[in-house]
Amino acid sequence: MTIQRVNKDNKNAISFYWNGKLLKGKKGDTLSAALLANNKLFIARSFKYHRPRGITSSGVEEGALVTLGKNASTEPNVNPSTTELYNNLEAFSQNAWPSLYFDFGYILNFLSKFFAAGFYYKMFIGIPPFEWGKGTSAWMFFEKYIRKIAGFGKASRQKDPSDYDNLNSFIDILVIGSGPSGINAALSASKAGFDVMLVEQDFELGGNYLNHQNKHKLNLLKEQLLKYHVKLKTRTTAFGIYDDKCVALVEKFDPSQISKNKIRQRLHICRAKKIILATGAIERTYAFGNNDLPGIMTVNAGKSYLNRYKILVGKKIIISTNNDSVYETALELNNAGANVVILDARAQLSNSQNNLIKNSNIRLLLNTVVHRALGKKCVKLVETAKEKNSKWQKSIRINCDCLLISAGWSPVIHLAAPHSEKPVWSHEQACFLPGKNNQDIIFVGSAAGIWNTLNCEKSGNIVNENKLNQKSEKNSVLPLFQTPINNNKSKNFVDFQHDVTISDIKLAHQEGFTSVEHLKRYTTLGMASDQGKNGNIIGLAIMGSALNKEINEVGTSKFRPPYTPVTIGALASRNKDEGFKLMRRTPFHEWNKTKNCVMIETGLWQRPWFYPFESQKLEDASCNEVKITRKNVGICDVSTLGKIMLQGPDASIFLDNIYINSFSKLSVGKARYGIMLRDDGFILDDGTVWRISEDCYLITTTTNQAGIVMSWLEELSQVRWPDLQIHLTSVTDQWAGCAIAGPKSRKVIEQLAINKEEVSDENLPFMGVKKLKIETIECLIARISFSGELAYEVYIPSDFANSLIEKIWEEASNFNGCLYGSEALGTMRIEKGHVGGSELDGRVTVDDIQLNKMISKKKSFIGNTLRLREGLIKPGRPRLVGIFPIDKNSKFKSGGLLYTSEKISGYPIGWVTSATYSPMMGHYIGLGFIENGLDRSINEEIILIDKLKSIKIPVDIVSPQMYDPEGKKLNV
């Protein structure tokens, strides 16, 4: 093949690298155009058989793929025909080793029998007859070799250095595609006063206008688009239409303008009132022998390379067609200096086509198709087949350096498919036309089966409701999907990207795969990165002929988004790194940081974990915190607890309904620990409720469940009990909370209070609540304890958090106190056997944690009925216990399983939910659940096994209240 630029000036030259070699292209080229202009025709090795592959198109249906960039910026499996050329672009051929021209994997071409349809499935089952149905030792053996040679380009293992953006927009009318119908649709809507956005996947506006020789009309239309303020977006692909006309677009920025650390692509979610699909049509090829040889492409590609990029794709061009669309192109190629032969499958031509080529020296052969192409790394010779008396026979051979194919056009109806009825096969036009859709999606132009440019332009006039324009028109086309003569000697490709051939489809049929969805998965037809834009219909037709069915009876597999591949980075856009999720900081956050605090993520929260002294490690620091708190006093940031203000005359009734215990008798100025269940009887959450006044309570929830509980209480109040007069307000962010715990905590509070007597044991007894002024700020204080020590929780209005915590810390320091984080908090609550999130995992009942004494018998409450289901009250259910290792030096973690020494495998009798080193006990301790709880026989030997951490130790089952079981320390 001898390819050349028609205009040989050096204007707008661009340098780029192909497999490391410096080449020149032109601004406005695609990578494919630039490669062709450099006579680089053979650019890739195929997926399975490593056959030489060349550029097959000028658009999204391209069969050859390349890799762009190096190292972290590597982008594999890129379509060179839609890739805009820019200065210093680096591109590589893929799937070839050691080099494109000498490829070791080509040997697979000769072993192709092994790689036929269903290869992987058969390997998984085993090789017949030895292994059939038994297993996959062959697969296990071959897998790593197969993976090495069969496959696409390799993605980088490094982090994508680019940034991506996202955007939401709302528009009256979104027009997708800027060809003759799209531009006119955008203009007609805009002139009628609608807010219109026109998106084009190409880097230039114009769609099929760009392939025309005369650009005058396009230039006029472009001026109009600006005049009528149509929002224009090029390099923008609509890759999916989702519910309620929500269109996902990905906008690529001009690659020549992107410097380091600049945004590369933008995910754009557009809400349109109407969507106009002016997405055009894709020219099909058909299957014949060696139809994958470099030098074979679509006729439209030949036209596009000539008129848009000024590249003549050959000197001796053969065009094979079954329709009228090629004749104008043939003439243009002929006028540009190529020798053109047309093979038309049809028996006769219309006058207009005849007139077009009448005065040229184009040679026309009717009743003729390509049977087989020949050549090594480029097509050199074409074997034709000719129809005589309704029988196809081998016919003459013709020399060529380029073979252009047009086997009809497929409207691009993909985007509407999820919202439409099944596409309708038009026998007359030999293509699928869009099915009816239930959204406001309107097809115009060749996407609607309208073929000539003038009619496409008219169909774009969407405002003047001339519905006649919307009808598809007659098209003189003879269905052609494969060479009519059986051809077993050479490969006849259906899907170039996945190397699926006619014989693969026939084999699938022989093996009983008749549904299209099965055919697709078994042969992998249409499952490569082009999603069968070229091969699907050929595959369906071949399956149809094997089944003796029409294509419409075979049906088509469902098109799903994305229309073309989308970079994962664009989908993630800004939702990565620190933008991955919201971050919640407590009002003490900045203050905590000044105290050398190490934070831990808890849900969305940043929560103090531990406060190391210099470079102390977690366990040392937290043990220290526990010891000091239990000896003197410790202060802990508990602001993350959920806080809900409940007000109204029916507040007490509401609480009685949602908690297992009674609240109506709780006196003002007192707090109570409560447990709430779900409807199904399992524990939802626990926390304390403070009665602030007759009809005002403060509910606290656990950190993790705060949002769920709030939403649940709102549901109950609005949906289930709308007549209860109550009001719920989330006040989590309004109050900063700190726990002051330890034997000296009252002394600290005394220093903070204006009058010491306010907080005496008498005036603020265990579970007492009151308002307390610290400095001039009114805070809430309750004497409640999670640590088991004499302890208080002080809630400070958030605005004053930092100043008051400084004051509290100052007083605590005077009593040799410390700050403690969630790690020490966890250790102390485990020592006390208080349940936390790892115990209350949604599968635990009140009986399981042995708190059934709390349940009020005088009332019913949410979950009270279903908690009594047979399986939930059956004796022997796992119950909460404490766990001690028998060898006090052994360590264990949560997640371990508990067995009796008689049976140490299979389903366990219990498990460990929490574990910690206890500085007070001097060894590891844990909480967990075990069948029958503490009622198990003492003589039994229990083994804790944690296979992930290779732990196997004998343990003792003890009461969960491991430290200060009498609770003496609460009242020092």
């Binding site: 979610i269 309904n657 949906v719 009594l868």
Partner: protein, 94 residues
């Protein structure tokens, strides 16, 4: 993305909302027998067509809503407050 027309806030994307559950369930009284509770909590129809669901406008007015939605097409037929007292107020005012 589905658009839900909140009676209080207007048309919003469904990512502002939290799906609740079956909106046609009448929950029994707290004292009702276990069979009633069993049916209310566990028995669900799998409707291919229009079903009533509860959604909460969690990133908006926090109101619980009853939404009639076609499970085959995702089309939303109606949206109203789940609180019957509020429906009455809205109707009085309109």
């Amino acid at each position: 993305m589905i658009i839900i027309k909140c009676p209080f806030c207007g048309s919003r994307g469904h990512n502002e909302f939290k799906y609740g559950g079956d909106g046609s369930i009448k929950y029994p009284d707290l004292h009702d027998p276990i069979t009633d509770w069993h049916d209310a909590v566990f028995q669900r129809k799998n409707i291919a067509g229009i079903q009533t669901e509860t959604w909460q406008h969690i990133h908006g007015c926090r109101m619980w809503l009853l939404v009639d939605r076609d499970t085959l097409t995702h089309k939303i037929i109606s949206v109203r407050p789940a609180n019957p007292n509020i429906i009455n107020i809205l109707e009085k005012n309109s």
